[in-house]
Amino acid sequence: MAENLPEISSEPIVAGVTAHSNFLVSTGATGTKFLSELRDNKKIMGIKCPKCSKVYVPPRTHCPTCFARMSEWVELSGKGSLSSYTVVRYKEPYMPKEPPYAYGVIQMDGADTGMAHILGEVDLDKIKVGMRLEPVFKEQREGSILDIDYFKPSS
């Protein structure tokens, strides 16, 4: 059948495909408590393990060490110390701020875990590990971790 038909090219083809997604994320009862306190009362809440007494912020439902269910909420001042940071200078889709911006881990007073967030009102060249920080909340809050606009150096 194929004998007298013209030659077909084997030239490689690369096909473009775009994947579309629109996932919903449930924050659950624990996450909702944390986020609604941010939104409604500008409060940062931690959660305490009944077995090992560690305080987690942001909260989770089970202690990562004990697998105990946690339900004791602890109100934190929001103040803390910077334990690590970097300055983001490249651009990617879906970033929370326009680069360059600083992004750090904040060891909050009264908590046993660090929380990652953005640093603001700070000279990017003068950030130091150990510096004291406090949260700045957005005016319009919607129940998101970005209701905290950024952490700024404490006076």
Binding site: I13, V17, T18, N22, S26, S36
Partner: protein
């Protein structure tokens, strides 16, 4: 029950969405030849030297006999209906990324050359489709072909 009352009775659970679009580039590799043939209005398939089975999409190795398939065989323009279904709800079109209704039933066709492939049927009434009926490929105009499965617009029933 009013919406206001309902809100009081049900605890709040915060949920959020994050829409994303992610572009990929897939290399067609050995199948490039098959896609190039579609642009010419031809359907070709690889043939297993052991069982003689022709496969679409074409593969380097016969999935059943694990031997290299170097022979390409022209499959002709006609085939027989194996199975069919019609979709009665909107589904995504991967060409546009949009939800759409699908008028034409999706069918599997066994080609003259022996390979089997998926396609759309020109006959939109599923009750008129019979297993084994003869079909012929109807192509997009040459300038619209992209080396994709939908270069074949649909398969049209042929009188015997």
């Amino acid at each position: 029950m009013t919406a206001e009352q309902k809100k009081e009775e049900q605890p709040e659970f915060i949920q959020f969405r994050y829409p994303r679009e992610v572009p990929y580039e897939h290399a067609l590799g050995y199948q490039s030849k098959f896609a190039n043939a579609l642009k010419q209005g031809r359907i070709i398939a690889t043939k297993c030297p052991v069982c003689g089975r022709c496969t679409i999409p074409p593969r380097i190795v016969c999935p059943f006999h694990h031997v290299k398939q170097t022979e390409w065989v022209d499959q002709g323009q006609r085939g027989r209906l194996i199975s069919a279904f019609k979709i009665n709800f909107p589904m995504f079109n991967s060409r546009t990324g949009e939800l759409q209704n699908w008028e034409n039933p999706i069918i599997a066709v066994e080609l003259e050359g022996g390979a089997r492939m998926d396609g759309w049927c020109a006959e939109t009434d599923p009750s008129k489709l019979k297993t084994g009926m003869l079909l012929e490929a109807v192509w997009r105009p040459e300038e619209e072909r992209q080396g994709r499965a939908d270069d074949i617009l649909h398969w049209k029933p042929v009188e015997e």
